[in-house]
Subunit: 202 residues, 2 copies
């Protein structure tokens, strides 16, 4: 594609590095920004820059935070006996939006993936063990909320191995038929698990 | 949605102002940027800022340009007897990509739309008339390449009225069945026009 301006070409190149945005969409966004007031672009560029320069991670749970300790870890009304282990900060957000969980979190920063060269050392597993191992810990249960993939399961097994001798209960989130899902379209593994892990009818 | 950080909320708000990007997609992009190196965000923010601060418009055709005169107007190999009138710079790009046109352009900057309060005075119509009216003009034909909408047609009629006494031919791009389109799915107006404006079989 021939661009009328070098500036447009540069902007399109940078925007199309974002996931799910191709060069055509990027060009449409660029034309939109040119049509709008300069302040719109200014505000966008500043917000991105400020985000990346100033974003911090909680020293306890490694979740995204505005300060040293995140708003969840510093909230006195959260249940300090529960710790939910997730892969990414976006998972924390997803669980928070369910309004069904009131404990604390621990963000691993990824899952063990030999293919991508990510071992346990690259993840926040040591600090997790420290949080549980600490003499004065209040944590009674660790809930593993990892993706049901090979990597997620590997990570769950590894964490279980590391913490199984500590005085904490380890659980994982339930696998089963999604709410609103139809039985006949569920895969056999999910359907099988939903039968094995059946719960009392209430 | 509850965000873990004010910085994320600001970035999501600004990104979701872009057309076709909602808050969920914006959040996904934000998490992507946080995961990537700071230089990625830096390059994106800088490219956007530079684009909006330094973008210029050609003094002749009002197309987007790096300098005072755009690369098309300053190209000696373009046919200076043809002038194609379009709504936006993105239309110039679309026509250029066909590689079927070698004349000059004139970008109106929009179409007449009483609903949106856009009259002929808001568009680059005066400079178009000046380009055609000028004693030494080389332009022999004006091609109106506007959208086939009420606003586009109104604008085409207005321009025709303004230039019909000048010694230039006025034409519009052909309306008809798109290449690869099936007859039975075409609307009646398009199909009707394609019959009225039939061309010699070659």
């Amino acid at each position: 594609m021939q661009f009328p301006s070098r500036l447009i070409e540069e902007a399109v190149t940078e925007i199309s590095r974002l996931p799910g945005i191709g060069r055509k969409t990027a060009l449409r966004l660029v034309f939109h920004l040119i049509k709008e007031k300069p302040e719109t672009t200014q505000a966008l560029a500043t917000a991105l820059q400020r985000l990346r320069d100033n974003i911090r991670f909680c020293v306890h749970c490694h979740n995204i935070s505005d300060g040293e300790v995140c708003s969840i870890c510093s909230n006195a009304r959260r249940d300090r006996s529960l710790l939910c282990v997730v892969e990414r900060s976006s998972d924390v957000l997803a669980i928070e939006n369910t309004a069904q969980y009131n404990g604390l979190y621990h963000v691993l920063g990824g899952v063990i993936s030999p293919v991508q060269g990510i071992g346990p050392g690259e993840l926040h597993i040591e600090t997790l063990v420290q949080r549980l191992n600490h003499g004065q810990t209040e944590i009674k249960e660790v809930i593993l909320a990892l993706s049901p993939t090979l990597e997620g399961d590997t990570t769950a097994f590894y964490i279980h191995k590391r913490v199984k001798d500590l005085p904490v209960k380890v659980s994982t989130i339930a696998r089963g038929i999604p709410v609103g899902g139809e039985l006949e379209y569920a895969d056999e593994i999910t359907l099988g698990r939903s039968i094995v892990s059946r719960t009392q009818f209430s």
